[in-house]
Amino acid sequence: MWTWFYRLASPPYVYRVAALWIPWFLTAAAITIGCGLIDGLGFAPPDYQQGDAFRIIYVHVPSAWMSEFTYACMAVAGAIGLIWRIKMGHAVAAAAAPIGASFTLAALVTGSLWGRPMWGTYWAWDPRLTTELILLFLYVGVMSLRSAFEDPARGDRAAALLSVVGVVNLPIIHYSVVWWNSLHQGATVAKLGKPDIELSMLWPLLSMMLGFMCFYAAVLCIRLRGEILDRERQATWVREAVKS
């Protein structure tokens, strides 16, 4: 039963399988993001307060959501590498970190573009915004710690430990809108019971979220393949794989 799991620890196997997954994830991402965009930008009704400006939600919320999700992924992969000494765990964590940082940056940029017409300012020192910015700094810290060591194995383990420690901040970011009175609106989708958002507005959002997940998976596979090639450049299978 566990053989599939054990095989995921082998670089050549992951390198081959990731190549098979990429087209599937990319197609799924293209379909869901395409549907979400058409439905969200074309057919969803305008918001009664914000008019058409609310439509940036279809990019902003998925990227903000993915920025937290990617951090959790990175920390779990790092923990797997740290605890069971599986090299692939560190490779996944190293491949995920820049993607997560990009999602965080995207969430911040789209958020401030949204804030300009709604709040009258690009940036407000608001708990949600500030904690998201802190998340970006966490990503930067993890990435620079990894590259600060001359011995890559040591850098991997140090970065993994830091990302596991940084998980403490995830609930703070997530619940910052609940704990503090914030300019940022509260949770509208991920709530027990009926969501606060109109269903015709919700469907494109869910589709976009799924699309962002698939997109993340595809980019992760691509980056992971590069990461594996870089890490295993001394191995004979890499030379054969590159030659063929």
């Binding site: 740290l82 500030t130 600060a148 060591f149 430990l161 596991v164 420690v165």
Partner: protein, 226 residues
Amino acid sequence: MKVGAWQAMTLVVRRELCLSFRRPEQLLQPLVFFLIVTTLFPLGLSLQLSALRDMAPGVLWVAALLSSLLSLDSLFKSDADDGTLEQLALSGQGLTVIVIAKTLAHWLVSGAALVLVSPLVATALGIPPEAFATMLLSLGLGTLTLSWLGAIGAGLTVGLRRGNVLLSLIVLPLAMPLLIFGAGATDHAVSGTSAAGALYFLAALCVFTCTLAPFAATAALRITLD
């Protein structure tokens, strides 16, 4: 001679205290830095005491964070450089015991000293004396938590040649909740409302880091040392 864990801990704490009291300038420099930073804020922001009072808690906390960050770099560094840390790690005591002792000693000479100086700065910034008890309690809990977080960061960067900036980059994001609740508690006390909620949060953070951070810092040291 067989030495128990408790005895080893007190021995290491005593050694650290002895070392830092032989070099009083190292002990005083972070405190002077704390004073200087807090005097910079009024010069840069506003000289009106009424306006200063509103931001005094934040200024106090930011200055406290920065000045305890300043002394964090030396937490494991000098011992790692001359090999003492390896000998301590090989001494048969758990490395965690050593880490706990060194961090507590670090807090005593940096954090606790800072707490003792803080009423002076607080008076200068216009914080009313009624708020001192809350402020001292929050700073005490906060600096202790910061020492634990800092031990993780110092452990991760001890092997690096220029780990100083990286250390701040690692520790400051982790210290974010501390600043929020610490400055919040002091703020409540200044405005005369109940600071209990923020103080409970600070105490919870302190207990959380006290129990888990020693193990994380030990793991960090093991990664960078071996």
